[in-house]
């Protein structure tokens, strides 16, 4: 029951925002509906912890540990980004008379993001992921400036090109399932039960197609070129959603399929995942060194983290799977915080260039302090949660004998850390360029930042029992040996 509410409320909110008399309070409707959706997804997670899974419509809408975690992350980030959008869009957007459209579209995006992990059938996951892409394209180009439209166009062509490729992948998967006697409707659960009897050739081919098709949407190198453009040109609340969870959701589908392959005799594919993941981390780490725009910087850091999660999944052990899901959780909460902070910097100073921001900690202590903390957290410094999950991934890699991969990964993480801290150092300290009084950040933005910072602080030093059990449950679905 709670699951149905969590999934359908964003859709209802989109409808309400569209109704003419309610357009002026679109922000309130969005925040209200999404917070209830967040509360009900916590209830769903509780139900999953008790019973192992929660079923709303059998065969269509079901969640297990892994999907409950993703649903929870999606509704958390979407709610906070909606709160942040209130003040940000009023002050930072040129399109104030079209704001109801923004919220309408935003709710549709939130709906698509929540429903993908809740779908039990892989074919519907494809449909949902394409819907996410379409709604996100419209939001990236929302401002209508030439550079925003250019970013939206690049995003559209590259990621929609992946759509037919992954569609064929899912059709081949369906063929594999049915040709090996899977009688009832195809679900993730049924697929993993059948993984050892499906023809390995078909399974490999299906995985390859889905990996390429969805890899464009995750932003894995070398298909990442749209990501920094889209994530830097979109309105900042959208960047938080895109970077924080929109990349995680297709990756969730890839990991689901990877778990099915790893359970079949074709386990070698794990090593390929390690190689491809390392390639993404490497590309991102070196691009971070030369980046000039702080929103692009956080976007490249997303490519880095997606690569790390893929590497962890490729190690294919229980410990590494735990590290992978923990990294997913920590990346989502930390990266959205980073973009809220970047949005505040943009609101106060009106520039995206790193070189034009100097001495922020003196001109605006709140924004500067938030930037310092979130960059330390996203770069992986202790005592923040990303440090813990990266450390556990490296340790799990060593224990499973992937010594070379761990050495490369550790080096690249250090390069990325140095790159981020060097850029942020210049922004925070030094002499402010002008002494003109800066614009005050709206209250809703400050609220969103404080709320988003709470889990980042807590999870770094203490993982509450229920969170730990949910992560363990989610890691079980990723398999491994």
């Amino acid at each position: 029951m709670a699951l149905i509410v969590a999934v359908s409320l964003p859709l209802l909110a989109a409808l309400l925002c569209w109704v003419k008399p309610l357009r002026s309070i679109a922000w309130g409707i969005t925040v209200f509906c999404l917070s209830i959706s967040f509360a009900t997804s916590i209830m769903t997670a509780g139900q999953v912890l008790r019973d192992g899974r929660a079923v709303a419509i059998p065969g269509w809408i079901e969640v297990d540990g892994l999907s409950a975690l993703v649903v929870l992350l999606v509704s958390f980030v979407c709610t906070l980004a909606a709160i942040f959008a209130g003040g940000y869009m009023r002050h930072g957007s040129q399109q104030t008379e079209r704001l109801w459209r923004f919220y309408c579209n935003y709710n549709l995006l939130a709906f698509a993001l929540i429903v993908v992990p809740a779908f039990a059938s892989p074919n519907m996951v494809w449909v949902g992921v394409e819907l996410i892409t379409l709604f996100a394209i419209l939001l990236v180009g929302f401002e209508g400036t030439p550079s925003a439209l250019e970013a939206a166009w690049k995003y559209a062509i590259l990621t929609l090109m992946g759509a037919p490729i992954s569609l064929l992948g899912f059709l081949v998967l369906y063929w594999a399932y049915h040709s090996s006697g899977g009688g009832t409707a195809e679900t993730w659960q049924g697929l993993s039960a059948m993984s050892s009897t499906m023809p390995p050739n078909l399974l490999k081919f299906a995985f390859l197609l889905v990996f390429v098709g969805f890899g464009t949407k995750v932003g894995l190198a070398p298909m990442h070129t749209w990501l920094p453009d889209a994530h830097s040109q979109a309105p900042t609340p959208i960047c938080a959603v895109l970077s924080g969870i929109k990349t995680t959701v297709p990756l969730y589908a890839i990991l689901r399929l990877l778990a099915i392959i790893l359970a079949s005799p074709e386990a070698r594919i794990g090593n390929w995942m390690v190689v491809i993941g390392l390639f993404s981390v490497g590309i991102a780490a070196f691009l971070l060194l030369q980046v000039r725009d702080y929103k692009r910087m956080f976007a490249f850091s997303t490519v880095e983290h997606m690569g790390i999660i893929l590497v962890a999944a490729g190690f294919a052990t229980h410990e590494a799977a735990y590290g992978a899901v923990a990294q997913m959780l920590n990346h989502s909460i930390t990266k959205s915080l980073c973009f809220y902070t970047a949005g505040m910097v943009l609101l106060t100073l009106g520039t995206r260039q790193i070189s034009e921001v100097r001495g922020l900690i003196r001109t605006s202590p709140f924004v500067g302090g938030a930037l310092l903390l979130c960059s330390l957290a996203i770069a992986g410094a202790p005592p923040f949660p990303i440090f813990l999950s990266e450390f556990s991934i490296l340790a799990a890699g060593l224990r499973s004998g992937h010594n070379v991969a761990v050495a490369i990964l550790a080096t690249l993480i250090v390069v990325a850390f140095v790159a981020i801290m060097r850029q942020v150092n210049g922004m925070l300290f030094g002499k402010p360029e002008s002494t003109a009084p800066v614009e005050r950040v709206p209250l809703s933005c400050r609220t969103a930042v404080v709320l988003a910072a709470i889990p980042v602080f807590i999870l770094g030093v203490y993982i509450p029992g229920p969170v730990h059990s949910l992560l363990t449950l989610a890691a079980q679905q990723l398999g491994g040996h």
Partner: protein, 230 residues
Amino acid sequence: MAGAQTQLIEGLNALSAGLILLTAFGMVATRQVQGVMRFFVVQSAFLAASAFLIGFDRGSIHLLALGVITIAAKVIAIPWVLKRTLPGDLYERREINQVINIPSSLLLALLLAIAAEFLVSPLLATTPDPVIHVNLPIGLAGILIGAYSLIARREAIPQLIGILAMENGAFFAGIAIAPDLPLIAELAIAIDVVLIAVVIGVLTRNITQTMGTTEAAAMSELREEPPPWR
């Protein structure tokens, strides 16, 4: 004479497969926006024909529904939606600039079709079904050729049609390998395809209004700057 009928239908299916491949080549070889659009509509019609043939032969309601959905979405809805959302001059006898000239493009498309045959040959070993042996390689070839025209063309509408042609390829393979896909999934996929056309159409209109061109090559403001040490 059920056997003779099946053989005839499989022959007709192979014929529409060949014509689908030919229309894919046609899209690569055409220089005008309107021509590319016509080839796409013809290709979708052959796709629907193949769904009707196989659906009739195997008594599959799903495939007959897929045929109807294809006609409704791709032969009627998408051309209509694009006509409505886009300013007329985008259609009028426009020549498309192409990165690689047409004879070499056709040669590359031919190589891609042969590559598709090789790529799927290990999969075909798992099944004796003659329809899969025809549809899967041709479907994959359609996807690869569509992807090629997407990369080689630098104009909005031909790029969109490239994506839709790739989708046709996936559907054509799907007729053979996933004939009893649940109807809800099929409908959802079809609606998704129409939405892709709508979203790209709207985006293209906004781009023409703001920048006055739909040449993707003109959009190059966003890129990585050279590193400071160079």
